[in-house]
Symmetry: C2
Subunit: 321 residues, 2 copies
């Protein structure tokens, strides 16, 4: 038998859902990864998440009564007070009353927060921002956003939008962004920016092996570009270098704004040792203001793909702080 | 006779020093403006400041014993803990042990902080940020910097550099900045950027009346450009419009980073009703992320040129909070 009082941790992403059970000694006793299947809708995702929680409880010989709380990380924007997810493009959700829906299926207190906030909380609790008074977690994924830790807590701003750094302009006359603006950090350095530039290169007939990584030019993803770059494809290398340069410029703005002890980066394209991370670091050192350029380390998330899962697990305890 | 326990408030700028005396009811009992005369050195400035304090005490019938503390606003970067001003280009100061030097002349506790922090504190105490949990004061002057108020306190960051927003890149391939970088907010929207563009226009032989506002093209200041624009000069109007556009882009980045309740702008070129402020507001509404574009007001400093003076007066009490 295990100790009672378990915390359920859930990280719902566009492609996968991570579910875990954590005990009072902060040990991850069980963990499972299931597909998101966004096309089946919010209620289906929530039901499969609850089912997975039940299976994990069974797996470790615990019962539903041992589950004290559930924390969930969800791509926002969302309202953590009302428990409603306003809009989540990757999940195709609009105004989903997530907490209500989940509590109808499992009678346990549920809290939600957005993925960047959760990742920052997770890194502050168990990862690279542990013991730091001020740290910023930057996710460079399909989009770009940040979770800001000040005094060990998430700083949300007056309207819950602090850390919307993906929409800072870094090239005033740059390419259009999904937000309607031009030259945003996200429009120049995100996974979708990388994919979009690669598609244009293939359609434009540039000399590249990108099509060997993906038959349909319209389906080329940032992951394909990263793989092509790693295999030495010049066009892919140039696209990654450009995105890395802009990432460094964006991270330099993050340094100027918040002056954190550490900037933690997460997301597939900036994995440890990646070409893009190398370019981003060099560009950051060139572009950040002295002496922050040499004082603030840029490090990949210590918890890897589990930053948001641990942050979700800490939502109830971080509220009590 | 007046009540005992007075606070001395000092705002040292590149061209003028403001000195004031404030009582326990937060009333400014006396105030004087003296010239800076930076070329005479730090010790001279400090001696004249102390002399002015003595004169003001006499003016209101008080004595040195009534003066409890002195707070000073100084253009940074500086170390408020050690009381040393590391570097102040406008004052031509390097490593000036300000607090020590002043306390040798007047045996009263002295605190210093940089002008953007003081202005933010002043506006939080007595001006447009009063009662706000989160506000940003942006000074658009010779340089550009910000003081950030979070939870009613100044947020300084891990190395005292939070709010160095003048060095966020907003045009990656833009003009060179004094920091060695390119396309910084400050290189595109500050008073010195405006003056520099105007000088180039005159030297380039553009059709402009700018030279009627200043004989020597090398001496044209932002103030001359503002006056020429107000009199309808096309070149000056275009320069102010461009700087205003970039100011809006920079303020949009401030909104994305901090999501404050209010952004307060100070500095000569963005005075209430100024052409530049109008352009900056329009550009902010176009460039800031929805819904912050309509939620965050951009307002000129309520305390005008006295924001930093009031902030200096609050340095001791804000430390106690």
């Amino acid at each position: 038998m295990i100790s009672t009082k378990l915390t359920g941790a859930v990280d719902i992403g566009g492609t996968k859902i991570l579910v875990g059970l954590i005990n009072q000694s902060d040990e991850l006793l069980a963990r499972r990864r299931v597909e998101t299947l966004a096309e089946q809708g919010a209620e289906n995702i929530i039901a499969r998440t609850v089912l997975t929680l039940h299976e994990l409880l069974q797996e470790i010989g615990a019962s539903k009564e041992d589950l004290e709380v559930i924390g969930c990380s969800i791509p926002g924007p969302l309202d953590s007070k009302s428990g409603v997810v306003h809009f989540s493009p990757n999940l195709q959700w609009r105004n989903v009353p997530f907490v209500d829906l989940m509590q109808r299926l499992i009678n346990v207190p549920v809290m939600i927060d957005d993925d960047a906030h959760c990742a920052a909380l997770g890194e502050a609790w168990m990862g690279g921002a542990r013991g730091k008074d001020c740290a910023v977690y930057v996710t460079i994924s399909t989009g770009i956003g940040a979770g800001i830790v000040i005094g060990g807590k998430i700083y949300r701003g007056a309207h819950g939008s602090a850390g919307e750094i993906g929409h800072m302009t870094i090239e005033a006359a740059g390419p259009p962004c999904s937000c309607g603006n031009f030259g945003c950090f996200e429009a120049l350095a995100s996974g979708s920016a990388i994919a979009s530039r690669a598609r244009q290169a293939v359609i434009h007939g540039d000399q590249t092996d990108l099509s060997t990584f993906c038959d349909d030019p319209g389906q080329i993803s940032a992951e394909h570009v990263v793989r092509a770059a790693e295999s030495g494809d010049d066009v892919a290398l140039r696209i990654i270098e450009s995105a890395g340069n802009y990432a460094g410029i964006g991270l330099a703005a993050v340094a100027s704004a918040y002056d954190p002890e550490i900037i933690i980066v997460g997301g597939g394209v900036v994995l440890s040792g990646s070409i893009m991370l190398q370019h981003a670091r060099r560009s950051f050192r060139e572009r950040a203001i002295f002496p922050l350029s040499s004082l603030i380390p840029i490090v990949p998330a210590a918890l890897g793909e589990e930053s948001s899962l641990w942050g979700a697990a800490s939502l109830f305890s971080s509220m009590r702080r």
